[in-house]
Amino acid sequence: MKKVVRGFYSIAYSVKLCRPDVIAAYPITPQTEIVENLAKMYADGELGNCEYVTAESEFGAASILVGASATGARTFTATCSQGLILMSEVLINAAGMRLPIVLVNTNRALSAPLSIWNDHQDSMILRDAGLMQIYVETNQEAHDMVPVAFKVAENPKVMLPFMINMDGYKLTHAYEPIDLLDQEVVDSFLPPYDPPVYMTTKNPLTFGCYAPPNYYAEFRVVLQNAMERAEKELEKAYKEWAEITGRDWGGHVVTEGVEDAELIAIAMGSLTGMVRNVVSELRNQGKKVGLLKIRTFRPFPAKEIKEILKDVEKILVFERAVSFGYEGPVGMEVKSACFGLTPEFYSFAVGLGGRDVPGEEVMKIINEVYDGKVKQGFHFGTVKPFEEVVV
């Protein structure tokens, strides 16, 4: 049933349909309304036997889910920014313990200075944490990816936490028509969680035990192996989702007009729609440009990306984060995937701390790179004149 709802609700409703056992959360803008919606559903008795726990912090919320997940419960939380960073110690543990917690991160900038607005600096900091990470373009995609996240996280070949990244405000606060899923559809796609290992009072187990040097490395090898299997399992889940719902969001990446492209623009998240529009406008003007949308960021689909970029002259990445002291993190990954190829490489960090990225800016950047008017390498998007105090 298609209905105009807010981004928050599109997530909460989908979480409900996934029949979670335990939700633990702590509020943070622009995430709060997701768990507010879930808390209301809980209070109204719509969440079955689910336990909803209000935690004292994000650290607490994630810790509660680690305990719950270890007993075999299906677990969910949502957070962002400082909240995600506060959760990070626990989430990294959850990955090591192979606990399939699903979380939605409503991407928001990091302090300092304080910002409540959108960019990807928060989730990028967790790049190496052992969480699967995908980035969605629309609220419909976000709604659809919640069951996919549970399915792959809880897949016995994977058993890893899964983080869905959706842009704060641009998606969370947007009202737009969403085709809300039916319970039967989700039930036919997502089986009940059947953990290979879980603890009970009669069968106590230790998760996250001490691993001395003669054991530790093997645990990390299996984590890497699980990520490698996750690449295939996630691809399969994407396909199955498309077959069941008729909504095909594509695989790890989606391309448009890349076959004969001289320039391929790369984007993730809610900015992608606009980049697609600009690219198609430039195509109409006869410019050979294409789009590569990256959906899955961890596991990183490097081989696929290299194959797509193998003949292109120019790569242009729209970054929403910076790895200070080097460049944008998506560009780093793309370049690493392209090892052995020799395209020109450009990246632009745009929309930091919620600065709006107008279509005109995207058009200007693509045109300038296409026409060879910009130096190769990393750039910031539109920045006002300013004076540095510490020089």
């Binding site: 009202y175 990225v357 107008p358």
Partner: protein, 190 residues
């Protein structure tokens, strides 16, 4: 495909329902068969600070999520943001500015030094009469629908009924919507 794209920008202050105004019209517009998108921007999350929200209506799925720089319509909820905020920025020459402004449209045109169509309504007074509070968003969505014909009144009425879970509040707001709508029809000579 006839490529309809209507872009509306709302201005006001935190607490006046600026965000909700765009949201209500996104729901109402969908009932009329449009693809719709609404979203806000604001400074601090505090009452009284300037807030803007955005609404797109189209016959095609909406993919651009940037702010609206060249609106077809601007709706102003609070007369005191005019000046501190350049509410008319980028308004298309054939566009309309619809403002809650008690001194009338001629006065506002002079004050702003603009020559596009300006329509005014004393929404604060109407809101005080119906709600007892200076929350002007429902009056202004009524005024918007009355002044533009972009969305059907019936769709707006249906949305207001669904939006407010309290029946009493829905009825009060409906009266406010209808008064503002009828007032704007008269001003526009429709």
């Amino acid at each position: 495909m006839i490529n309809i794209l209507v872009e509306v920008r709302f201005h006001g202050r935190g607490g006046q329902g600026v965000v909700t105004a765009a949201d209500i019209l996104a729901v109402a517009g969908f009932k009329d068969g449009y693809h719709t998108l609404s979203f806000p921007t604001f400074g601090a999350e505090k009452r009284g600070t300037p807030v803007a929200s955005f609404l797109r209506l189209s016959d095609k799925p909406i993919v651009s999520r940037d702010e609206i720089y060249y609106p077809d319509y601007v709706v102003v909820m609070d007369p005191t943001v005019i000046g501190p905020v350049k509410v008319e920025a980028g308004l298309k020459p054939e566009g309309k500015l619809i403002a809650n402004y008690p001194k009338g449209s001629e006065d506002l045109k002079r004050a702003m030094g603009v020559d596009f169509e300006v329509l005014t309504i004393n929404a604060t007074k109407m809101a005080m009469e119906h709600l007892g509070r200076p929350i002007t968003n429902t009056a202004m969505v009524g005024a918007f629908v009355g002044a533009t014909n972009v969305i059907k009144l019936e769709s707006l009425v249906e949305t207001i009924n669904e939006w407010f879970t309290s029946k009493e509040l829905a009825e009060k707001n409906l009266k406010l919507v209808e008064e503002a709508y009828n007032y704007m029809r008269e001003v526009c000579g429709w």
